[in-house]
């Protein structure tokens, strides 16, 4: 299989805080990779280094064979990225926003005419596209951000909590879309806190903790590593990250 993403010994610090501590992995073009980890484990920072919006202090990243450090513009052209809780240009209407994003990604009028209405319809935004984004619900804004991330037909998707605030139908569309793109050779790196979603969507999971890779493999491989065969991914996750002290916390809170 073709290697779509290579992350080699990536290190990133913010002042005294070391957010990513030498993470390495590769992703093949027929894979959906789930990045799991508690808040502050370095998932978002790592994803931003893959897109080239954060320069790592050390290490190298190549996307579809293109080095992110030496050719960031080319990487941005081939990557589709949706950040966590994306802030949009709220003074634009939905269609103006998508037109803007499509134009900066180099789409011509014909491609825009073909794709934008199609996506608006698929995500139930048809009829609302002429309204200012300011009046949209959080879910509608998330849908727009996802459309903006895939509109230019990227060759790899990097999605940070993409299903946040989505209604069940749209979430299903995104999940099916990710699977379909994977089958067409477009891999996805996908972060989520909802372990059921990771279990259902991802072919492979990396658990991050304190900026390092704690485990890497299929759900079955992770169960075996945690000695939790037959358990839910949640059990596996809590065991591997050493955060399974939930019962004591609840008892403390309800005392």
């Amino acid at each position: 299989m073709v290697e779509a993403l290579r992350v080699e010994n990536v290190v990133k610090s913010f002042g005294n805080l070391m957010a990513v501590k030498g993470v390495s992995f590769t992703l093949e073009s027929n894979q959906i990779l789930g990045l799991l980890g508690p808040n502050g484990s370095g998932k978002s920072t790592l994803m931003k280094t893959m897109v080239g919006v954060i320069t790592p202090d050390a290490g190298a990243i190549t996307v579809q064979g293109v080095n992110v450090a030496s050719n960031p513009i080319e990487v941005k052209r081939i990557v589709g990225f949706v950040p966590e809780s994306p802030r949009l240009y709220e003074f634009l209407s939905g269609s103006e926003y998508l037109d803007f994003v499509a134009t900066v990604h180099g789409l011509g009028p014909d491609a825009k005419r073909e794709r934008i209405p199609e996506f608006l319809k698929a995500f139930d935004l048809e009829g609302r596209e002429n309204e200012l984004i300011h009046g949209y619900s959080q879910g509608m804004k998330q849908k727009l951000a996802i459309i903006a991330g895939i509109l230019h037909r990227p060759r790899i998707l990097i999605l940070d909590e993409p299903l946040n605030a989505l209604d069940p139908r749209s979430a299903r569309i995104v999940k099916d879309l990710i699977h379909k793109l994977r089958d067409d050779g477009v891999p996805t790196v996908f972060s989520t806190h909802v372990l059921e979603i990771a279990d259902a969507v991802c072919d492979r999971i990396i658990i991050m903790y304190n900026g390092t890779t704690l485990a890497d493999g299929t759900v079955e491989e992770l169960r075996s590593k945690a000695h939790k065969e037959g358990s839910s991914l949640e059990e596996v996750f809590l065991t591997l990250t050493g955060t399974s002290d939930t019962r004591e916390v609840v008892e403390e809170l309800t005392r």
């Binding site: 320069t55 941005k76 240009y89 803007f100 900066v104 990604h105 002429n130």
Partner: protein, 541 residues
């Protein structure tokens, strides 16, 4: 009413407003603590009072004789002035808030009644503006004590506090009603609603800015008392009339106007609570711009690519649709009017045809042009706000970002400079006679200020979305403005020397002026592109 809840809310709102508007972390920490404001207010009041008393006691009888009849009027003016200021700044605060912060008010989901909210909010607003109240009362305290008008001052102080609350109640009513009215208005009016809001906001900002010019302040202070006497039936002037009656020894009128003021305050409080209760949760404004189906944009500016055109179009929409950006559109009007006030009286004198006057005119013309273009370009990157991630992930080169941002500021600057010059050429024959020379300087200044501005915008960007966001760091704005004005002066210098020495613009001086302009633009452009490249390597939000 739960007084503990009112107090807590007032403290939280005060902290929120002070910390949200104060950029200096130290000042925000000091004044963000409401307990600190009261001692500072008292120190200001007593300090000013003491200084005033010492000064008044040391001046001669003649000067004292002049001040004595003015003092009662000044004391009577304080309640009206403070009420007016509370309303003005309250409204200004509301329109400077980024739209995103409105619907996240914690009062929408905490168990607080409308009455408690209005009480807490008005206490907070009055507390924040108490600094100005103490400034005015402190200035009047010394003379009042020295001239034996201590009791009148005391009455004026009490009525001024009441007036401050009345102003805060009015802001609450305006806030609640405009929230609901604007929701319905925008839903029906769409694009024209945005244009109307833009014009209204710009007009209000121009009005506020001009209000603080020396001419108008003097005129207003003189008019307040005359207006109050004339409009005695208008409740907002009752506190001032009560003070005036007290200074004239008319106890009946004093009691009548002061008790009516209290009743008016109570009625406004009840009204504000009712409006808050009625329009409790801000309704998200849904503005439909058109009804047609989507049609892709084909428009493309000459000499630049589609991406640059899209960026410019987006920035133009940001400028005209975001209410917190309207202040930038108010700048040219304020500057043009201020320039008119300062230059027009000179243009009729005998010196108006001299080379020196032409130089002064050109200098006064480049000043507002440089300020306007500098303000637009210096804020052009920071105004992206938290949505700047789009620029980070877009496959666009730093040079494309630079071109788009420069063109945006320069185009608007050119429109302003041509319009300003054309208007003044109709009003002043000297300007008309030297139109093309001054315009050439104007074009050069526009290009310099826009390129230099982008450098500072990328060097000191401020992406925070808060009340009265600057979009550029304090040092960035100061250095940027100083550099833009310095470059303007440098550009104008060869032409000025030629005018002073030869009485006309020589070809050599014209070439020198153009050469200086081009040099500054090229150097600033190189620096700006380098700075943008560095900025967009690491996302800062």
């Amino acid at each position: 009413m739960n007084l503990r809840a009112v107090y807590s809310l007032a403290v939280v709102l005060t902290r929120s407003q002070v910390r949200g508007t104060q950029r200096s972390k130290l000042l925000a920490r000091i004044f963000g603590e409401p307990r600190v404001i009261l001692p500072v207010d008292l120190a200001l009041l007593l300090g000013l009072g003491t200084i005033g008393y010492v000064i008044i006691s040391s001046i001669g009888n003649e000067l004292q004789g002049l001040l004595i009849p003015i003092l009662p009027k000044a004391l009577a003016g304080i309640p009206s002035a403070i009420m007016f200021m509370a309303i003005l700044f309250g409204v200004l605060y509301e329109i400077s808030q980024p739209i995103q912060s409105l619907s996240t008010d914690l009062v929408n989901w905490l168990p607080i009644t409308p009455t408690e909210y209005v009480a807490g909010s008005t206490i907070s607003e009055s507390y924040i503006y108490s600094f100005v109240l103490c400034l005015l009362l402190g200035a009047a305290l010394g003379p009042s004590l020295a001239f034996g008008m201590g009791w009148i001052w005391l009455g004026a102080a009490a009525l001024s506090v009441l007036a401050l609350f009345v102003g805060a109640f009015v802001v609450e009513i305006l806030d609640a009603t405009t929230n609901r009215i604007s929701s319905s208005f925008y839903r029906k009016s769409g694009r024209s609603g945005i244009i109307f809001r833009l014009i209204a906001t710009v007009a209000l900002l121009v009005f506020i800015q001009l209000l603080f010019s020396g001419y108008i302040i003097g005129y207003l202070l003189q008019s307040i008392i005359q207006a109050a006497l004339f409009a005695w039936f208008v409740p907002v002037v009752w506190p001032s009339l009560a003070v005036l009656s007290s200074s004239q020894g008319n106890t009946l009128n004093f009691l009548l106007f002061s008790s009516s003021s209290v009743v008016f305050g109570v009625v406004l409080f009840a009204l504000a609570a009712w409006f808050r209760g009625r329009f409790w949760v801000p309704v998200p404004v849904s503005i439909k711009l058109s009804t047609g189906t989507y049609r892709p944009t084909k428009f493309r500016l000459p000499l630049v690519g589609a991406a640059e055109t899209a960026l410019i179009q987006k920035d133009l929409r940001s400028l005209t649709r975001r209410r917190e950006m309207a202040r930038f559109l108010a700048i040219p009007f304020v500057l043009a009017i201020s320039m008119g006030i300062s230059i027009l009286p000179l243009s009729t004198g005998s010196t108006s045809q001299t080379p020196g006057f032409i130089f002064v005119t050109a200098l006064l013309y480049t000043l507002p042009v440089a300020i306007f273009v500098g303000a637009l370009s210096m804020t052009s990157i920071g105004q992206e706000g938290y949505a700047v991630w789009h620029i980070y992930i877009a496959p666009i080169k730093p040079s494309q970002i630079f071109r788009a941002k420069v063109l945006f500021a320069a185009c608007l600057g050119l429109i302003f400079s041509v319009a300003l010059l054309t208007i003044f050429s109709f009003l002043m024959s000297t300007v008309a006679a030297n139109y093309w020379t001054i315009l050439l300087i104007g074009v050069l200044v526009v290009m310099e200020a826009s390129t230099l501005g982008i450098y500072y915008a990328a060097r000191f960007p401020d992406f925070r979305e808060m009340v009265r966001s600057r979009y550029v760091g304090v040092w960035g704005s100061l250095l940027g403005l100083a550099t833009a004005l310095g470059a303007s002066l440098l550009t104008i210098m060869p032409a000025a020397v030629s005018l002073v020495l030869y009485g006309e613009l020589t070809p050599v001086s014209t070439i020198a002026t153009v050469a200086v302009g081009i040099l500054v633009v090229v150097a600033a452009a190189k620096l700006a592109v380098r700075q943008i490249t560095g900025l967009f390597k690491n996302i800062r939000i």
